[in-house]
Structure formats: C-alpha cells, structure tokens
Amino acid sequence: MSGLRVRRIGPLASIQDQGRAGQLQQGVSRGGAADFLALAEGAALLRQDASLAALELAGIGGLFEATGPVRIALTGAPMQTSLDGAALAWNASHQLQAGQRLEIGAPKKGLYGYLHLGGGIASEMLLGARAIHLMSGLGKAVAVGDLLPCGVDRGREVGLGLQAEDRFQGGVLRIVASFQSELFANDVRARFGATAFKRGSRANRRGVEMVSDGAGFTAAGQLKFLSEIIVPGDVQMTGDGKPFVLLREAQTTGGYPRIGTVLPCDLAKVAQAQSGTDLRFCWVSLEEGLAAQAKHDKQVKALPASCRPLLRDPAMMQDLLSHQLISGAVSADANPFDSTDNHSTDTNSGDIT
C-alpha cells in the first residue's frame, strides 16, 4: 500500500477528519480538524471528498518518505516545505514518487497545517470517524516510524493551487447570543464586545484562552449552574471570568456559564491564532450570523472551481483569460475571500439586548 512513512514529527500531530457529529447523547464530542476550511481546501486541490482524513500538524512540521507514488496537498497554516530539497508551494497539490522525502517546517503564520493524501489517510475508524481525540481515548498522536496509508486514490490531477482565506492572524470573531447569555448583565455583554483580547497561553484543540486588561466577565450565580450542553464556539467563563472559546473537541457538557457562541465559520480563526494574537468579539444577530455562515458555506462549495494550475501552462491561458472576461472586475490573482465585508467591526453591539 502506498503512503508516507513518518521520519520526524512534532508531539501533537494527529490524523483528523470532520469528526463525529451526532453522538452527543453518548458523551462523544464532535472533534475533528481544528481548521475545517483546510480540510475542504485539501479536498478541492486533490479533487476528492472533504470527509477524507488528513494529517494535522500542530505548530511543528515533520519529515515524510513516500513508500510509493502518492498525491499530496498542503493547506492550513503555511509552512516552509520542500521535496528532496526543492521548495514546494503551499495551498497546492503535488505528486510524490517512491522514496522521495517531504520536509515540512514550522508555520510562518497560524498554527495548524494539513498534509492531505490522495485517497485520504486510510487509518482505523474509531466510533465512525478517523479523527483522533486523545482525551476521549480515541487513537494516538502520530509518531516516528508510523505509516500514513493512502486510501484508494481515484484522482490523478496534481499541480493545482488556490488562494486561501487568511484566517491565521486573528481579527474579529462574530458571536451570537445563546441560551446562557442572559445570565450576564447587559453591560457585561457590551463590554465583552468592546474589549481587545489577545490569545492567551492556554490553548489546545479543546479550547483557547482569551486574555484582556481589566475586569473579568462573570455571570450572577456563576458557580451554581447545572452542567449543560456545550456547542462548539461557546465562550465559557471560568471561575474568575476569563473567557475560553471552546472548539469542536471540547467536552460535551460543562458547568461554567457561556456568554455566547462564535460562528462555526470563524472558529478556524480562533484555532489558528498564535499566542499573543489580537482578537476581538463582535455581537451579531442570529439572522446576521446565519447569513454569514451561509455565505461561508457557499464559498466552501465553490472551492473546487477556484483551484487553478500552479504553472502558467499556455494551454490553460486561454481558459484563464476567458474567465477574466466573463467575471469582469475579478483578476486572476484576486483572493476570492477578500470581500468578506461581514468582518467589519462597526456592527451595533446593542444587538445583544
């Protein structure tokens, strides 16, 4: 079986897919990749299904050796990468031959980079998914000597690239009110939306600490609530009122109150923020949140069509030119995600009442 043999790897690299939706009643949290968009990008570049598993590299790269011909794609936090010493493009798909060595360095920005294989990584299914969830006892981190086996690869195309949305440098997180928001006084919620945060030092795949100057954000009766369902994106206040944005690998229930829920489409921005990165929250109405998420989902669906050959192949130029003519103002180099004006920070924070 073709695949990649791991020759060097960081301590927290793990196989991830879209996780285990639908098992909350058994206490199984969704989990899956810290950056779902990166999974969709990798799938688009390899012309395959976004449900396939990839290797998630957490802040540290690795060295891999192909055991046979393997197609790969590289997405997420951009990392310096070379194949037998020659630089490889990020956000792109490539062909590896048996014995070739792929070296991936530390991220230039962001945290989580993804190495996708043609056919996906055919590791063992655990409760219906391949996503590793260490705290739940589902699988192990990837280690030196492991083989990442390819699934059946029906594709052949390589040498595609795409312009990735930059979610690696913090920014604004859109947040909707949720079932415990009203436990927090109006002025506490307004102050939360007006506060400049930095990503704190405590962060992992389950949740990310947000730090700020000034008072914490506490609810009345903070320590007395019944444990209640957690949904990914919930912003939970610890005992001293310090916010943690909970990610998809968070436990399924929790007792500390949650002030609101960050939109699913903004979660990659939380996960990918390096320590010290500037972040802030912007309250949006449910309607605005749904519209923003729908727009994001549409962009994800359009990813396969936005992949372009990496090399300027004259045979393709005609095609590119005609695209430009048809789409008018859009240049071939434009980032299709640059027009995300929903990230503006002037949304009325009075929405929360």
Binding site: A21, G22, Q23, L24, Q25, Q26, G27, V28, L126, L127, M135, S136, G137, L138, V176, A177, S178, F179, E182, L183, F184, A185, A220, L223, L226, S227, E228, I229, V231, P232, G233, D234, Q251, T252, T253, G254, G255, T261, L263, P264, L286, G289, L290, Q293, A294
Partner: protein, 249 residues
C-alpha cells in the same frame, strides 16, 4: 436569572444551529424524566432538518439544518409538542437496564470518602450505607464518551465541587458532588470527590457495544471489601463483576 424567574419549560437557541428545551433550572427527578420523554418524542416526530437530539440533565438539545428548518418554524413545532402534555409526568422510556456494581468505598482506592461523609454530616459507615443503597439513574451521559451523571442522591449529598482539581482519578472512579455521582469512563482530572472505586469501564473502544450505559439505566453501587473488589476485577476485567438486568417496561 438576571431578568427574574423564568417560566418552565423554556425554549432558547443554542449557538447558530441548535435549540434547547429546558424543563427546570435545578435538577429534579421529574425534569430529567421530562427531558428524556420529550427527546424521544422529538426523535419520533422525524421533522426534516433535525440532525441530532440529545438530553442533558433537565434539557433537550436539538441541532438542525437552519436552511431546511428555520428557527421560528422549529420553535413553533416544539411548543406544539410541549403543549400536548405535562412531560414531567411522563413514564420512563422502555429498554432500560438495571446495573449492580461491586464498589469499594473509601480505603486508598477511593480516598475522599471520609471528607465527603464529614461534609454531609455523616460517619463513614452511615455514608457507605446511604451511598451503597441508593438506586440512581443515568441522568445524562456527557463530558467524555460513555461517562454517566447519576442521581439524584439525597439532599445531604448536595456538596459543592472542590475548589482545587484532583489531578487524576482512574477509570471506574465513583465521584460525587451536587447530589450526583459521576462514574469515570476514562482517567481524568476532576473537581468532584472520589468516594468509591469500581472495575466498571463505561467506554471500551473496539468492543461490540463500546458505550455500555444508556440514559435512563439505573444503577446501585453495592459496597464490597477491597479483596472482593479485586477478585471481581480479575474475573471480569471489563465490568468489575457488575450484573445487568432488563427493567420491565
């Protein structure tokens, strides 16, 4: 609540694509029963767009595809279903099981029995008598795969969580706080007090039924000596000698 007392049940949104129906802000036996019965009723309704339902202690969570089913329409359907009956008077769902689990209380295996008993105003012997005879129900499964919250225990056991976390309790640990047990399905840190130890593994990856318990199951943690416990674990490494029987509907 900030805005004064709420009328229950209450329906609130949970994130962008979820709805939460809550029967009480405190854990009571009827509110948990209501949540279980209402969750089954939502499932049985088969509404298009509903992607997942689950219960927590006194609530039902519904995740849905907001493009197929809009928030307002789901809320209307939920209210119509809620109004059909008093869900807190519902009978418990069928297919439940009764588990009896050999349990060592106290000793070096469960070192916080003494402090929990003292906090409840009981001697250790009284505490073992009380906890060891309590027939508790799986109120919800959460936090980690297959990990049950069990109760309710008597009011004397309404002890707060610890201020400091215990760095690690082993799988099978029976811990207690706020009139509930949690039976640890993995080894993890906890803010609850470790009063008993069992050989029960609620989550066994790779077995045919990796998650042993179901919401609504009932359990008794029968006191045994340390040597009896060790014998039971040697004979039955998965469930530590627990017995299981169907509860007639």
């Amino acid at each position: 609540m900030g805005q004064g007392a709420m009328d229950f049940p209450v329906i609130r949104s949970a994130g962008l694509d979820g709805m939460l129906v809550t029967f009480s802000e405190a854990l009571t036996e009827p509110s948990n029963r209501g949540a279980l019965a209402f969750c089954d009723a939502v499932k049985a309704s088969g509404w298009p767009g509903v992607q997942e339902t689950s219960t927590s202690l006194a609530s039902v969570y519904i995740r849905f595809d907001a493009e197929t089913l809009c928030h307002g329409a789901l809320k209307d359907r939920l209210w119509t279903l809620l109004d059909q009956r008093d869900w807190t008077q519902a009978v418990l769902p069928p297919g439940r099981r009764f588990w009896q689990v050999p349990t060592v209380y106290g000793t070096d295996l469960a070192p916080q029995l003494g402090e929990a008993a003292a906090a409840a105003g009981l001697s250790e012997a009284e505490a073992i008598e009380s906890l060891g005879s309590a027939r508790v129900r799986v109120l919800t499964i959460g936090f980690a795969p297959g990990q049950p919250y069990l109760g309710p225990l008597g009011a004397e056991w309404n002890l707060p969580r610890q201020t400091e976390l215990t760095p690690r309790v082993p799988t099978g640990a029976l811990v207690l706080a706020i009139s509930q047990f949690v039976l640890f399905a993995t080894s993890a840190p906890t803010g609850w007090r470790h009063v008993g130890q069992t050989g029960f593994q609620g989550f066994q990856l790779g077995s045919q039924d990796p998650i042993a318990l179901r919401v609504g199951d009932e359990m008794v943690f029968t006191p045994v000596s340390k040597s009896e416990y060790q014998r039971a674990c040697a004979k039955d490494p998965h469930f530590g000698g627990a017995s299981r029987a169907e509860i007639p509907a």
